[in-house]
């Protein structure tokens, strides 16, 4: 598109080549260009973002580290002032909501975005800093000298490009990291498949239905009966005059049960509480994407001679909060800082680039990934977290809220009995203990 250069490939050498213009690659490009490096980003889409989809929210704090005060210029949909967590049984819903006026003022907390627009904008920022953005170009292979990466082979005629270092920011399908022997591929138990629709709703109607003041936004995460007992979640995010709605399921469980992601989405949309929000809205786009949810354990080797990996390609997603764009931004920046340092010492050996891993280890990224590393396997082995517990929560709240002749103490007794009848106390304690250990 117009604000992105689509330069013909020359035989120029670059200090660094970045594969992929998502948040990881663009953050790395901004940092490298700021540091005076000659850097090119290669993107297979017509424009950066044209291949990318998420829920999704960008969070202010990490994004501002790459693009200060981005909220003044980036294409954002709504700033999120309310987040809700729903436990659903299909008929009933137990909700927890958090709302803050802080979230509605600078520097804000998070924004709903469309990646096709946001990534394109971020690429414009990187370009303004001096990075070269090459679009419509697929990197097909890495150029190797022995075990050292020395450049990339693109799908263009005479499309070899050389550089001192290549940063792989290719996203969840790590074709190139596999070729470089850094990744052994991602297993279906460490992946979630997400499908999403964008539904158009007139602005006033949207604000009315979601109970929002003008311009404010809401984000809902839903677990329970939507995914038919297969570990996964649903989400609903408000944009300016559209709603993003989708479901994500662990690939392994989906395959084992030959479930269909689009059918789960239709089922989610049909739930009465969801229908109330979206009925009459006209669909504008359907999209699908994988999420790497393996956490710390699912990570590939992060660097080799002349090569670094950042973002989804490195498995950096916090599975519990589906935050990945922020980890991509931060890891891209750290990879770039390591490259700037390597340029100073003139060495791009794995041993120099190990600085990246060390910095990551000290950062919030690895802390989070370690904390949540057991969540996905935990949920796969405890599918009743998605069915039985929402049902129990719902039954318990219903019992408490139904006015009849029982005292609240008697009701508590009834609830405890109900819970015990569904799952023996010993098992319940074990679930709680396992869950507590996994999530804390």
């Amino acid at each position: 598109m117009s604000d992105i250069t689509n330069i013909p490939i020359t035989t120029d050498r670059f200090d660094a080549i970045i594969v992929g213009a998502g948040p990881a690659g663009l953050s790395a490009a901004c940092t490298l260009a700021d540091g005076g490096a000659r850097v090119a980003v290669i993107e297979r889409g017509d424009w950066p973002g044209s291949k990318n989809m998420m829920g999704g929210l960008v969070f202010s704090q990490p994004t501002a580290q790459v693009a200060p005060e981005f909220w003044k210029k980036a294409p954002l949909e709504r700033h999120i002032t309310r987040r809700e967590m729903w436990l659903t049984t299909g008929e009933s819903v137990v909700r927890a909501a958090y709302e803050s006026t802080d979230f509605g003022a600078e520097p804000y907390n998070s924004f709903s975005v469309f990646r096709s627009r946001f990534d394109k904008w971020l690429a414009g920022e990187a370009r303004a800093k001096g990075a070269i953005i090459i679009t419509e170009t697929l990197v097909e292979d890495l150029l190797m000298e022995g075990d050292r990466v020395v450049g990339v082979r693109t799908g263009r005629p005479e499309g070899d490009l050389e550089a001192d270092v290549v940063i792989l920011c290719e996203g969840v399908n790590p074709f190139l990291a596999e070729k470089a022997g850094l990744s052994k591929g991602v297993k279906p138990e460490s992946l979630a498949l997400a499908v999403k629709e964008v539904l158009a709703l007139p602005r006033e109607k949207l604000e009315d239905r979601f109970n929002l003041d003008e311009g404010n936004g809401a984000a809902y995460e839903v677990i329970g009966e939507i995914t038919g007992g297969i570990p996964g979640t649903g989400f609903i995010y408000t944009n300016r005059d559209t709603v993003s709605i989708g479901v994500g399921v662990i690939l392994k469980d989906m395959v084992d049960q030959t479930a269909e992601a689009y059918a789960l989405l239709e089922r989610f949309k049909a739930q009465p509480q969801v229908q109330r929000l979206i009925h009459g809205a006209s669909p504008r786009e359907y999209a699908a994407h994988l999420i790497p949810e393996g956490g710390y354990r699912g990570m590939p080797r992060l660097h080799g001679n002349g090569v670094l990996i950042a973002g989804d390609a490195a498995g950096m997603v916090n599975a519990v909060f589906t935050e990945g764009a922020n980890l991509a931004l931060l890891s891209g920046k750290m990879a770039a800082e390591t490259v700037l340092r390597a340029m100073e010492c003139g060495s791009f050996e794995a041993i120099t680039l190990d600085h990246y891993r060390q910095q990551l280890e000290k950062s919030i990224i690895m802390k989070d990934l370690k904390t949540f590393q057991d969540v996905t396997p935990f949920l796969s082995s405890h599918p009743h977290f998605f069915t039985m517990y929402p049902e129990l929560a719902s039954a318990a709240v219903k019992e408490l809220l139904t006015v009849d002749s029982l005292s609240k103490a008697d009701k508590m007794h009834l609830i405890i009995k109900l819970v015990r009848s569904q799952r023996p106390a010993r098992k319940l304690m074990k679930d709680l203990y396992d869950g507590w250990r996994t999530f804390s």
Partner: protein, 114 residues
């Protein structure tokens, strides 16, 4: 859908009751720039015929790109509607029998929202 609810639908919107939205409908909403060369293929037809009872790919692909053709006894591939998610190369075919690459630069799905 009750008459009451139908009456509340805005007149300029079509009535999209969820069950009415098939995968074909969904894909019709998304923009594609199809390449002339396919970027997907089945590695070994015999595995589909002899080993794979459930024809997993016909369920796991979110774009219903794969269809089992009874007469030809093989999987047909509508690669033009591929969303490039990678499911079919990462367990969507449990026999690892699908060769998937990305389409050439500039081709394939083009999200307007994403």
């Amino acid at each position: 859908m009750s008459d009451d609810r139908r009456n509340r639908l805005p007149s300029d919107d079509r009535d999209w009751t969820p069950s009415k939205l098939s995968v074909t409908d969904k894909l019709g909403l998304t923009k594609f720039k199809p390449d002339a060369e396919p970027h997907l293929s089945v590695k070994d037809k015999e595995v589909c015929q002899a080993t794979c009872r459930r024809k997993y790919c016909t369920h796991t692909c979110p774009a219903q790109v794969y269809r089992w053709e009874e007469e030809e006894e093989s999987i047909s591939i509508a690669y033009e509607g591929c969303l490039e998610c990678g499911t079919c190369r990462s367990g969507g075919c449990p026999y690892d029998n699908i060769e998937m690459s990305y389409p050439r630069g500039g081709y394939g799905v083009q999200y307007r929202f994403g």
